[in-house]
């Protein structure tokens, strides 16, 4: 187990390095950082001088080395756009995104599993068909359109919920939370629903498919035959056996929730890292983009690690060959 974890850690490091390279390469090709920093009236020679000062005229490998060296120390420089240390910026935006992602993922998981189990247990019912239909309509609409639609209905027409921002926040040390105020919770509702819909549908469909599959197995038939209650069979046996793929997908989805938050945060003006990132992309704010990409990569690598370990815990058969020396 320990050897396995160490190996995965080494692999993860390599992943991070490659991501660093990719993100660094990307910025060499997308837009021109100088353009984003200066007003339209700045003259050519000033632009050249800035290019020099920013080290954009150095050889590319040298720029990359400098980039990695700094990144290791958590040093991503100063945002071109906001002229503040990037690490600080990201840390100040992180709570908003984590609270949104956490709420969305919980919503998606709970509602997804419940609906999935429901539609699997009563596949022919009218309600199940309705839920499946609604879920399909939900995933067939672009996220930004759902968000704007929700704003239109609940903020503009009905005036029930705020259309943008986080509302009032409470500071717990450096962590700014929106969970503790009424306006904070109200502001969370629309973006969380928008962000969770897609994941919810995915989880629901997955749980349903897996449940249907498992319910067909002899194991479940046998359990029924043994006279166990329907409830015990459904949840004690069937649901438990659907957990492996559900864990995988939910784990993977948690990372993509943070990533997908980009669009949701833009629509709702949610002050998280996603909107920080998209604003940075628009003006090619290289330091912020680099830090954000590495941050997302880190989240994914950690999630993958956890999912792999959970696999081991849940399915003992995988423990033997995965940990050993492959085939």
């Amino acid at each position: 187990m320990l050897a396995f974890i160490i190996r995965r850690l080494a692999q993860s490091l390599l992943v991070m390095l490659v991501v660093a390279l990719i993100s660094f390469m990307m910025f060499r090709y997308v837009g021109d950082p100088i353009e984003s920093m200066v007003g339209v009236e700045t003259r050519l020679e000033d632009r050249e001088a800035m290019r020099d000062r920013l080290g954009l005229n150095d050889p590319v490998p040298m720029q990359f080395l400098r980039f990695v060296g700094n990144a290791v120390q958590g040093e991503f420089g100063i945002s071109y756009r906001l002229q503040q240390p990037v690490t600080e910026l990201i840390l100040s935006r992180l709570p908003a995104t984590i609270e949104l992602a956490f709420t969305s993922a919980t919503l998606a998981l709970v509602v997804g599993v419940v609906l999935g189990v429901f539609t699997a247990l009563r596949p022919k019912s009218f309600m199940a068909a309705g839920v499946m239909g609604a879920s399909l309509v939900g995933v067939s609409l672009p996220t930004f359109l759902i968000g704007i639609g929700l704003i239109y209905v609940f903020s503009v027409e009905l005036g029930w919920l705020p259309s943008f921002g986080r509302g009032a926040v409470v500071e717990l040390g450096w962590w700014r939370t929106g969970f503790l105020t009424e306006s904070g919770v109200k502001s969370l509702i629309l973006p969380a629903i928008t962000l969770s819909l897609f994941q919810m549908t995915l989880i629901m469909r997955l749980v349903r498919a897996e449940m249907l599959e498992v319910m067909r197995t002899e194991y479940i038939r046998f359990a029924r035959a043994r006279g166990l209650t329907r409830r015990a069979v459904n949840f004690g046996h069937a649901l438990r056996n659907t957990l492996v793929p559900v864990i995988t997908i939910t784990g993977l989805q948690l990372g993509s929730v943070i990533a997908f938050a980009i669009v949701t945060e833009t629509v709702f003006q949610w002050p998280g890292v996603g909107s920080l990132f998209i604003n940075s992309v628009q003006v090619v704010d290289v330091p912020v983009m680099a830090a954000y990409l590495l941050f997302i990569a880190l989240v994914f690598v950690i999630i993958n690690l956890v999912v792999d370990i959970l696999y081991y815990v849940v399915d003992p058969r995988l423990r033997v060959d995965g940990g050993g020396s492959g085939h």
């Binding site: 090709y29 399909l136 996220t143 997955l206 498919a209 995965g322 492959g326």
Partner: protein, 322 residues
């Protein structure tokens, strides 16, 4: 789970040859199950109608929205089923902000959306299946390498990968070719940003499948690994692949729309459904609902019918669920 016993009493998985598939399908339970499900029949009809409409757009569309010189700006914002104020043009679904017929735009736009969606999904699927099978079956170093690449891919939001590929394409393709290449870049970008999901799922299923007795038996009998993969493992992993693939097709179409929303989609003179929605979204508050509504409904219908077909296909392919 352990009691799930061995070899496949599967109906043959969809083999590559269409003619054979058709014949067997008509005889098989699949056709029966198709006929039994009215929702599926409707979905098939809608999907087929949309696909045919897209395929034959140049023949049936009342106007050619991709020819800017045929447009009259003064027709802009003509409401549905109304004669334009300054010309004799008449628009069933109204005209957009450029005086473009919304109905014709939808017909031409669906072409682009379907092309991007189908090709990108096929690309992602073939790449994902190939890599997932290889990783799951071989395990060890190969598995580690492929899965780490998948991790890297997954660690970037699809939108970011698309932006990356766009950026590189912009550096590589000469300026005069960029407009023509935009659609291919889009396919590549969306395809390459979605393969990892397939790979992970296929690999997971393969790892489970690999341990089963029939596969071990085949291996011991000395069957070539590629044959084992194709004949025994592939059919068994197709179920989950179809779940992802159906959502993936709709997803690809929506991803194209999102990229357009962020301003890196196909050129606005040749809009896809996604671009049309992005354009229409600007007029949400100003009362020109038709510019958003009709393309939006078309997109939902398209994605919905494809999803429904996929659902049915999955159930039909998986005899244990019947």
């Amino acid at each position: 789970m352990t009691t799930q016993d061995s070899p496949t009493q599967h109906t043959p998985a969809p083999p590559p040859r269409p003619a054979g598939w058709l014949k067997r399908a008509l005889d098989s339970d699949m056709f029966y199950s198709w006929r039994r499900s009215p929702v599926t029949v409707v979905a098939t009809v809608v999907a087929l109608a949309l696909i045919l409409m897209a395929l034959f757009a140049p023949l049936i569309a009342p106007y050619n929205p991709f020819d800017p010189s045929s447009l009259n700006l003064m027709d802009g914002f003509t409401p549905p089923a109304t004669k334009a104020a300054f010309t004799d043009n008449w628009f069933l679904m109204g005209a957009d902000h450029q005086g473009r017929d919304v109905l014709s735009s939808i017909m031409y736009g669906s072409r682009i959306s379907l092309l991007v969606g189908v090709l990108a999904t096929l690309l992602a699927m073939s790449l994902g299946i190939a890599l997932g099978l290889t990783a799951g079956y071989n395990g060890g170093v190969i598995d580690a390498v492929i899965m780490r690449i998948a991790d890297i891919q997954l660690s970037f939001p699809a939108i970011l990968i698309a932006l990356l590929i766009f950026g590189i394409a912009r550096g590589v393709i000469p300026a005069s070719q960029q407009e023509n290449m935009a659609i291919w870049v889009l396919i590549l970008a969306i395809g390459l940003s979605n393969w990892a999901q397939f790979a992970r799922t296929v690999r997971g299923a393969t790892m489970v499948e690999r341990e089963k007795d029939y596969v071990s038996a085949a291996r011991i009998m000395g069957v070539h690994p590629i044959l084992i993969l194709i004949r025994h493992i592939l059919p068994n992993v197709l179920g989950p692949v179809l779940v992802i693939g159906t959502i993936g097709l709709a997803l690809a179409i929506i991803e194209e729309a999102t990229l357009s929303y962020l301003g890196v989609g196909v050129p606005p003179t040749q809009p896809s459904l996604g671009t049309l929605i992005r354009i229409g979204q600007q007029f949400l508050f100003s009362g020109e609902w038709w510019i958003l509504f009709f393309p939006g409904v078309t997109l939902v219908l398209l994605a919905l019918s494809v999803n429904l077909l996929g659902d049915w296909l999955r159930d039909a392919l998986n005899p244990r669920l019947r």
